[in-house]
Every structure is written in structure tokens, then in C-alpha cells.
Amino acid sequence: MTETSTQTSKPYGIVAEFTTAASILHAAELVRSAGFRQWDVFTPFPVHGMDKAMGLRNSKVGWFTFVGGVIGYASGMIMIWYMNAFDYPIVIGGKPMFSPYSAFPPSFELTILFGAFGSLIGMLFLNRLPRLYHPLLKNKRFSLVTHDRFYVVIECDDPKYSEVETRRLLEQAGSRHIEVVED
């Protein structure tokens, strides 16, 4: 029992609250240049310029969309060829058994369909969602993130993390409310 209780009280990270878009952008720049790696910014809406401030690279979702689209188009063409020209060919109106033109509209629709699934699933996969348990979601104050507040969270697992130093950095960045969240 004592073991589990020590485990639950293990800190997850330090949370600093900001109230404006400019202050969170500035804070993100500071935290980034301080050399932290396991940290994130939480905002009610995507803040313009934040990816650059955090030093994030271009999202990889596009690859999922592309692969989905290619699979969709290829499966459409192959399916139609297999069904109408190979497995059970029937002459209809003297039209060719298989033509890329008549097979295009359904294959195009499948490109879109699979590409859309690729985008959504890729986005969820890259974001590790669905994840219904998250230490931050237990925090009462943090729930304002979907309302009107902005947060910087630096995880305790970060090699540069030290409770005193990190707190001082976030205070310098202009945060008025800083607390340590438990895992």
C-alpha cells in the first residue's frame, strides 16, 4: 500500500498558467531556448506561430493521407478490373470490359475515402489518441485550457528539470500561477 501511495504522489510535471496569446508564445520561446525536450504548450485554440516558437517540425499527417489515397485509388482500379473484366466479364453495350475512364470515378471516390481515413487516423495516431487518462486532465485548474487559459507544462522526466530552477524560469516568463501536477 505504501508503495502505491508513493507512486501516485510522484510528480508528473510543472504547470504554468498564462493569460494571453503573446505571453504564451514568449514563454514557449524561453522554454525552448532553455533546452527542454519533454515539454508542451496547451492552448484553447492553435496559436499562430507556436509551432515555430516551439521548434516543431512539419506534421507527418500528410504521409498517412498520401498512403491512404494511394491504397484507395489502387484498390478501386484493381477491384473494378477484377470484378468486371476478370472474374465475371459481361459485355454491356459493346463497352470494353475494363477502361480506366469508367473505372476512374469510383476509384477517385475511394482515393478520397481512404485518404480521409488516413488523415484522421494519422492525426489520432501521431497524437497518441484516444487517451482517456491523462495526469493533466485530473487537475481542476488545468480544465480552463479549453476555456480561456494557456499553459506551459514541463515534465519531470526532462533531464533539465529541477523544481526550483524550472519554476524560476516560468516565473520569469511571466506566469502568475505555477503548480506541480501529480502523475
Binding site: 504564451i24 475511394l110 497524437n127 476555456h147
Partner: protein, 485 residues
């Protein structure tokens, strides 16, 4: 270099005087009265959190009755046969297909708003995109019912899909009707995906402010654990952009494919190459009509005038005017091509449209689709909500007449005069059509009751305080002093 250093010094010492642009060049803000993030959340969420108003229950009961009517008419039609509809040789496509095309056209405005206007960076779309996308989904549901019950033996509907069956015959992909199956089902699926993805951050908004366990659980479940992390937003925005990019050709292809159902055939009045763009323009036109019909009462009842401003209504009127005029152009072009081709069947068909027994449908078609929207050239009229509401309804009356004119007038005057006949709908036709309104409004009323009908997270992003480089967003620009006129 020296010059720039000097300017920097100047900046520090004496403030630069920047002349302010004249008032008429200022952009109207997208959210009126400078509302805060919190206000936006509270306002939109209150529509769900407050008790359902009395009018909601009245409308919901009426819609449920309509849904009951739909289920009754469908059951009667399925158990008896398609003969209960007014479809009669040679017009084997009657109201069933008219309503299919009409409903699916209405859906197109939702995707136009969510996808095409997103790509065009029309930021005003954020106020209406959620409701318009919901409208799309429900309209496509209403549309999808018709082909499925029109086939007669609904228990064979699965033959439409490439599923192996006992006869080992596959669907015939050389027919546009088969393309339509793929277009409509893809359209529905992708619209739902797009809508749901847009909802994820807003479901998190609802989750974080829910008071009851049930709400916390359900909103929490569907919010998938969204935290608003910027690493997540980065992927989310990319996925949103890609979905918008995929939906744009999709929405253009859907009504094009629907139009190919007609134009690939030999029937006069159908066999024309203008159909795909003409159908897409008409679809967006009717969809904007429906968006206006839904949004104008909602913004007044729910007091959303600060979010859906008069500017939004005006812009939608302009889109309606533009697409209505495109439809008008297509009508003219049809007549021109008919004369230019010199085909006697076409010539007969088009004079029959305007002067024949279905003139009662042709006149409102021209009036409502081409002439009445011209009122929107005038700013005063675009800002008159009562007028806009009436016109928006007339738009859809006109578009229904257009579908009817295209389908029924062409079919009842076939190449063989001995099979000519006058189409009359039966009570089942009328009941099924009225019933789909029941389905549509049941879904829509449930939507505005349980889901945020305004994209809260998106609308927060278009306010001036969301911009980190705007003084309202906390940016410090003390050196610049605006010169007063």
C-alpha cells in the same frame, strides 16, 4: 545598415507616427462587441447546458411526427411495392429521384463552407461551419433513403456494393449509377469524419465544463482525451487542412456524378455536357438557401448576433446571388445549345418545358432561382433579415422545381409519343417527402441540443485577442502611436 540603425534609435527615442487608415477601410471584426474567449465558450455551451426551451419541444414533437410519417410511408411502400408511388411508364423516376437530387444538393453548401472556404482562407466561415456541416450530414441521410427504397426490393440493396453474392455477379462499374453509389457513400462518410474531427476540441470544451457524471463521461469519451496540446494542434491543423483539400474535389465530384446519372443517358433535356458544373452550382445555391433558412432563426432565438453577425448573413447572400446567377447562365446556355444543335427533339423538349403542361414548375424555377436572388445586389436588402429568410426558402422551392423539371418533364415526353403521360404524385410520394423533413429536423434539433452548434475553438482563433501579434492578444507595441485624423 547605418540607416536601419538610425531608425531603431528613432524608435526608441521618438515614437513613429503611423497614419491610421480611413474608417471605411477597416475590416468589420468577425466577432462583434470584442467578446472574450470565455464569453464565447459560455455563450455556445449555455445553449446545451440550459434547459430545453419550450419552442424546442414543440418543434421536436412536430419533427418526430414527421419522422413517424416517413417510417409509415416507407413501410407501406416497401411492403406493397414501388407502385404506390406516382411513377408510371415512361416516367419511372418521379419524386423519389427528384427528392434525392434535391436533398443531396442541399448538403453541398456545408462542405463548401467547411472545405472550400477554409482553403480560400475565408475566416468568417468559422461561425457557421459546424451547423452547415451538420446540415450536410442530415441532408445526405435524407437523400440516401430515396435510392435505397426506390429499387423496390430493399432487401437486395446490398447488391449495390461490391460484396460477393450467391449468383457471383459483381456490380456493373460501367454505369454512372454505380459511380453514384460510391460518390454518395464516400460523401457521407467523409462529411461525418470531417465533422467529427472538427468536434473533438469542442467536445473537450464541453467535457471540461460538464457538471453531471453522464455528460462528463460521454463528452469525455468522444473527446478522445483531447488536452489542447500544441503538438496535437500541429497535427490536427495539418489533418484539417488535408481533409479540406480532400473534401473540395469530393464535393465537386458528388453532384457531378449525380448529374452523370442523367447526362450519360440519351434522353433529351438530359444528354448535355453542361450538367456537371450546372448541378454543382445549383447544389451550392440550394445549400446556401438552406443554411440561411436555418441560421437566421437560430441566431435570433439563441442571441448569437455577436458570433453570426449581419456581415455573415450578407456574405452568404452574396454567395447565393453568385451561384443563382450561375444557374441562370446554365439555363440560358441550355436553351442556346438546344437551338444551336438543331436537334428537333431537344427543340421540342425545351419549348415543352417553358410552355407545356408542366409550365407551373418552370415558371417558379426561373423566378426563384434566377430572378428573385437578384435582389441581393442591394446591400439594404441583404441586411433585411425577414426578406433574406423568405428568399432563402424560395431558393429551395425553386431548386425543387428545377429537379422536377429536369427529371419528370424529360421522362414524360419520351421519344415515343404513344407513351407520353402526365405525372401525378400519390399521397405516399407526398408523405415520404414530408417525412424526410421530419427526419432532417429531428436530427438537427437533437444536434443543437447536445452538440456545440458553433465551432467554439475555431471561433476563438479568429478573434483579435487570439493573435499574439495584436495588442489585444497581449503584444507590446508601445512605440507606435496612431495618428488621429
Amino acid at each position: 545598415m547605418a540607416a536601419s540603425a538610425e531608425t531603431t534609435l528613432d524608435l526608441v527615442e521618438a515614437p513613429i507616427r503611423v497614419p491610421q487608415p480611413p474608417a471605411e477601410l477597416e475590416r468589420t471584426p468577425l466577432v462583434a462587441n470584442g467578446r472574450s474567449f470565455g464569453w464565447l465558450s459560455n455563450r455556445v455551451a449555455s445553449l446545451i447546458e440550459n434547459k430545453a426551451p419550450g419552442w424546442w419541444w414543440v418543434l421536436f414533437s412536430i419533427s418526430l411526427l414527421g419522422l413517424g410519417l416517413l417510417i409509415f410511408c416507407m413501410s407501406y411502400q416497401i411492403s406493397t411495392g414501388v407502385g404506390v408511388w406516382g411513377d408510371m411508364r415512361p416516367a419511372m423516376w418521379g419524386w423519389g429521384i427528384v427528392n434525392f437530387v434535391w436533398w443531396i444538393g442541399i448538403g453541398h453548401a456545408g462542405t463548401l463552407i467547411s472545405a472550400i472556404l477554409f482553403l480560400l482562407r475565408q475566416r468568417w466561415r468559422t461561425a457557421i461551419n459546424r451547423a452547415a456541416e451538420a446540415m450536410t450530414i442530415f441532408a445526405v441521410m435524407c437523400a440516401g433513403i430515396y435510392p435505397l427504397i426506390h429499387v423496390g426490393r430493399v432487401w437486395y440493396d446490398w447488391w449495390l456494393f461490391p460484396i460477393p453474392n450467391a449468383n457471383s455477379i459483381w456490380p456493373q462499374f460501367r454505369s454512372p449509377l454505380m459511380w453514384d453509389v460510391f460518390a454518395v457513400s464516400t460523401y457521407f462518410t467523409v462529411s461525418v469524419l470531417f465533422w467529427y474531427m472538427g468536434l473533438i476540441p469542442d467536445l473537450a470544451v464541453m467535457r471540461d465544463r460538464s457538471k453531471t457524471k453522464a455528460r462528463q463521461f460521454l463528452y469525455g469519451l468522444f473527446a478522445l482525451g483531447w488536452t489542447g496540446s500544441n503538438r496535437a494542434w500541429s497535427n490536427y491543423e495539418k489533418a484539417y487542412l488535408l481533409l479540406a483539400g480532400l473534401s473540395t474535389p469530393l464535393v465537386l465530384s458528388v453532384h457531378s456524378t449525380v448529374s452523370l446519372d442523367f447526362s450519360v443517358s440519351q434522353v433529351s433535356g438530359w444528354h448535355t455536357t453542361i450538367f456537371p458544373p450546372y448541378f454543382v452550382a445549383g447544389a451550392i445555391f440550394s445549400g446556401f438557401g438552406m443554411v440561411l433558412t436555418l441560421v437566421i432563426p437560430l441566431r435570433s432565438i439563441f442571441k448569437l448576433q455577436d458570433i453570426i453577425t449581419i456581415k455573415h448573413i450578407e456574405t452568404m447572400c452574396k454567395v447565393t446571388l453568385a451561384t443563382g446567377s450561375m444557374v441562370g447562365y446554365a439555363y440560358m446556355m441550355e436553351f442556346f445549345i438546344c437551338w444551336y444543335s438543331g436537334d428537333p427533339n431537344e427543340a421540342f423538349h425545351f419549348s415543352n418545358r417553358a410552355l407545356g403542361p408542366y409550365q407551373w414548375a418552370w415558371i417558379p424555377m426561373i423566378l426563384c432561382n434566377v430572378l428573385i436572388p437578384q435582389l441581393f445586389w442591394f446591400k439594404k436588402l441583404r441586411r433585411n433579415l425577414v426578406l433574406v429568410f423568405i428568399v432563402s426558402i424560395l431558393v429551395n422551392v425553386g431548386m425543387w422545381c428545377e429537379r422536377f423539371v429536369i427529371i419528370v418533364v424529360s421522362l414524360t415526353r419520351e421519344f415515343l409519343p404513344s407513351s407520353w403521360h402526365y405525372f401525378r404524385p400519390t399521397w405516399v410520394d407526398i408523405g415520404t417527402y414530408a417525412g424526410t423533413f421530419g427526419l432532417f429536423f429531428t436530427c438537427f434539433l437533437l444536434f443543437i441540443r447536445f452538440l456545440p452548434m458553433i465551432a467554439v475553438s475555431e471561433i476563438k482563433g479568429v478573434t483579435p485577442q487570439a493573435d499574439p501579434h495584436n495588442p489585444l492578444g497581449g503584444a507590446k507595441v508601445p512605440q507606435f502611436v496612431h495618428e488621429e485624423h
